[in-house]
Amino acid sequence: MSDLTINPGVELRNSRLELYHFRLRLALASGFVLCMFLLLFARFFYLQVIQHEHYETLAEANRISIVPIVPNRGIIVDRNGVLLAHNYSAYTLEITPSKVDDIEALIDELASVVEITPKDRRRFKKLTEESKSFDSLPIRTRLSDEEIARFAANRYRFSGVEINARLFRQYPHGELFSHVVGHIGRINQRELDQLETDGLDANYRGTDYIGKTGLEQGYETQLHGTTGVEQVEVDSGGRAVRTLSRSAPVSGNNLVLKLDAGLQEVIDRAFGDRRGALVAIDPATGGVLAFVSKPGFDPNLFVEGIDPLNWKELNESPDRPMVNRALAGTYPPGSTIKPYMALAALAYGKRRPEQTISDPGFFNFGGHTFHDSKVGGHGVVDMYKSIVASCDTYYYMLANDLGIDNISRFFRGFGFGSRTGIDINGESAGILPSQEWKMRRFKQKWYAGETVSVAIGQGYNAYTPLQLAQAMATLASGQLSRPHIVDYIENITTRSRTAADAPPPRPLEVRPEHLRVIRQALVGVNREGTGARAFAGAQYVSAGKTGTAQVIALKQGEKYIESRVAERHRDHALFIAYAPADAPKIALAVVVENAGFGARAAAPIARQVLDYYLLGKQPFAPKPGSQDESDDTAD
């Protein structure tokens, strides 16, 4: 305890010792101070030199926020510049569900400020189920100025709710182009995954919508454009302080179509309430002039997310408006197959044009009687007459001379049975039967009797209206072109035009004199045959062929009587045509579902289309079916 206590007896010496001890301790303390400052220096060196880059990055991440600038989606116009899809700017009232505790209560309160219909609520509910809760979702769109003002005055009551200016897609023609132009809708999880797989997710930052069907889907990459990026400096509260850099978005490209909106409208009116499809093609290029599937639906319903009631109605309608009949509907071609059958016979040398048969009105084959549609038969029939009068027996007899595999091989050259490759998705390939097909499909061998049915367009074969139109265009032009709806893609900034890429047309491997025979017969159809009534008085020469397709198979010996058959089981009416006959500008195929004979229901529609397209004549809508029916029952 010597250094703890001080002996009072030796004060002076001990005082010196005391001072020495004190200074020792002070020196120790100073050493401690120095050590601690060195420790601080080491810490600063570690943070500011060794870890500098790491903290630099963190500081930059703190202050820089990257905001995507969504590009304007390209517009879609027809060949004459008529708008088919465009954008308009509107204010939306949006809720971010993750910021709100009780959404129902919030919406109830919002309803006191702006109008919110039950439909809006249903749609919002559906959106919340499909989206992430931190997305900002619209409860109301297209707010009026007054509503914006009223909300602004009350906004303090609504946290998690904001007004945003957004671009909306609009389809001014509604139903008319629903199956061609298609529509956009909110991006769903599956599409998001796909975008990620394709490495496109960065370009879709900030984008809420994506093409779902039709051209909107087929040309999504063209229409979307390139998303811009704005680097914004933000403070700790997330408020933007200033813009650091900005790369402007590049608007999506515009689509200019081959389609003629006026023609489309004429067709729509000609169909009226009937179901069916019509595709018209420019034979020289394969450009699609008209593409109608009836009934359609209003694509505008889908843009902001369709409300469940409308969705149910569309989905459950017996008319199935969502089905793209022109693209995915497959129909037996009926007698419209005959010109191709005749051409195949010429090509394979199975018939000469002038070669005749005698038609008793039926044909027996393999213990089965095949009836001609004309009771008593057509008498002496050559190839021309077989097409003009649509003689079934001629083709019954021809069927097994050709054989199913020759038919199949020859038809493939017209595009039957394979997807045309048109520039919208969802196409059906149809069915072009062959021995191999039947084995693959049913594990059964082909029966010769089945070829007899196929020869008049019944049996297994089934094609889309698009394929029928393509085949007609091919027959008219002598070459197979891939049909395309888009004529060219227009870059909105450079105004440069890029033609939609298409493979070069493939010439038909058919001798010109054979083609000439068939074409003459098709002209005969409209002049003196089954199409004559519909084309009476036409100021141009047209070629055509009627067809009637059975929806249900008739029993042996049963006769088809229209009035006795339930409406949806009635025959489909078909017509294929092109015009002018010497230099075809338009080829088309039309199918009218459950409408009966092609000559009566389908041919008049084709007439209106050709009149409008070639002469610019607006039809005054003659009532179909009200005409004299005496001669039309033959197909």
Binding site: D3, T5, S30, F37, F44, F45, L47, Y55, A59, D235
Partner: protein
């Protein structure tokens, strides 16, 4: 210059220690520069702080002129007054931000704990000086008790930062007064053993601060936020700093308490490692001058008081910079002479004034 003026000047500056004053003025200037940046170029803060500085310098000058033996006389009364005020705070104090620290006196409010930063070392130095000739173990025990009472009262408010500073000031006196190494070792062991017990005594927020220090990322938006953001500020400053007024963490509000407790983050971000070295050097200059004064102080009282003041000044600087750079828990200790705020500035300058007084009055004592 006439001899008269020269004599007058010598008389007026006789008790000013030039090296200490120089370092203090440099630090104060640096403080103004950083406060301007930290307050987003707020002129009012700079003006307010300038006024506080003038007051603090006035106090420093005044105490430099008071001979140490006058301080000896007031040591006991000031200490007793301070403890009484602390008790009043505990009984009648105002609660601000959940802590009972302020006491209403007439029209103004005072923070008695601030007074104890100087009153405790003063009292202990006086006590040891009084029993200098007959120091025994019991004297150290009594001194420890004199220290623990105010520290406990301050810690209870709760004001961990001030309690820590007062405690360290007292401990420095005990250490310099010759507390046995055996007892120091024993105390160290005892405090280690007491950690679990002390843990249960801490307030939740204090515990949180210590946990946050160990792993700030545990609660990045809550308690860890301050420390993460200030560490980012320091680290992103690099060697040369981002430049005055150019700190992004500062400008964009990411650093909390930018002119007070966390002002070092602002400084460090804008002036970098070089700036930090300059600051460490200036602080070291103050401490070194204080140590020199203390080493040559004539009496035990002045030695102990000078040593405590010097080492407390160091403690301020170390704890603050350690906290901002993430090696010490967040306690409310300002950066001496730099942080915005009049009270701590006056207290610190008062202490430095006492140091000057010790230095400039020793000849009188010796003669």
């Amino acid at each position: 210059m006439t001899p008269l003026i020269r004599r007058a000047t010598r008389f007026l500056t006789a008790h000013v220690d030039a090296p200490l004053l120089g370092a203090v003025l440099l630090l104060l200037m640096l403080g103004l520069i950083v406060i301007f940046s930290g307050s987003n170029q707020g002129v009012t803060r700079v003006i307010t702080q300038t006024i506080s500085m003038l007051v603090a310098l006035g106090v420093m000058y005044a105490f430099a002129n008071i001979p140490p033996h006058y301080l000896m006389r007031v040591a006991l009364p000031v200490y007793v007054l301070g403890v009484l005020l602390l008790v009043s705070v505990a009984l009648f104090g105002d609660v601000v931000h959940g802590a009972r620290r302020w006491l209403h006196v007439g029209v103004t409010r005072i923070q008695p704990s601030e007074l104890m930063k100087i009153a405790v070392p003063l009292m202990l130095a006086w006590y040891f000086d009084r029993y200098e000739a007959t120091l025994r173990a019991k004297n150290y025990l009594i001194a420890a008790a004199l220290l623990v009472v105010p520290v406990a009262l301050i810690a209870r408010q709760p004001d961990l930062g001030t309690a820590l500073l007062v405690l360290s000031a007292g401990c420095y006196v005990l250490f310099l007064a010759g507390l046995s190494w055996r007892i120091i070792g024993g105390l160290a062991l005892a405090s280690l053993a007491a950690i679990p017990f002390a843990w249960t005594m801490l307030h939740d927020y204090q515990r949180q601060r210590i946990l946050t220090l160990i792993d700030p990322t545990q609660d990045p938006l809550g308690a860890g936020y301050h420390i993460i953001q200030s560490t980012i500020a320091v680290g992103s400053g690099g060697i040369f700093g981002k430049g005055w007024l150019q700190g992004t963490q500062t400008r964009l509000d990411f650093i909390p308490e930018r002119t007070t407790d966390f002002i070092f983050a602002v400084y460090s971000e804008e002036f970098g490692l070089l700036g930090n070295v300059l600051l460490l050097f200036l602080f070291l200059l103050v401490v070194a001058r204080g140590a020199m004064i203390t080493a040559s102080a004539p009496t035990l009282f002045t030695r102990l008081l000078g040593g405590a003041i010097t080492l407390t000044f160091f403690t301020y600087a170390f704890v603050n910079m350690g906290m901002v750079s993430g090696i010490l828990p967040v306690v409310g200790v300002p950066l001496p002479l730099i942080s915005y705020g009049g009270t701590s500035l006056v207290t610190i300058c008062l202490g430095l004034g006492v140091l000057m007084s010790i230095q400039t009055h020793k000849k009188l004592v010796q003669s």
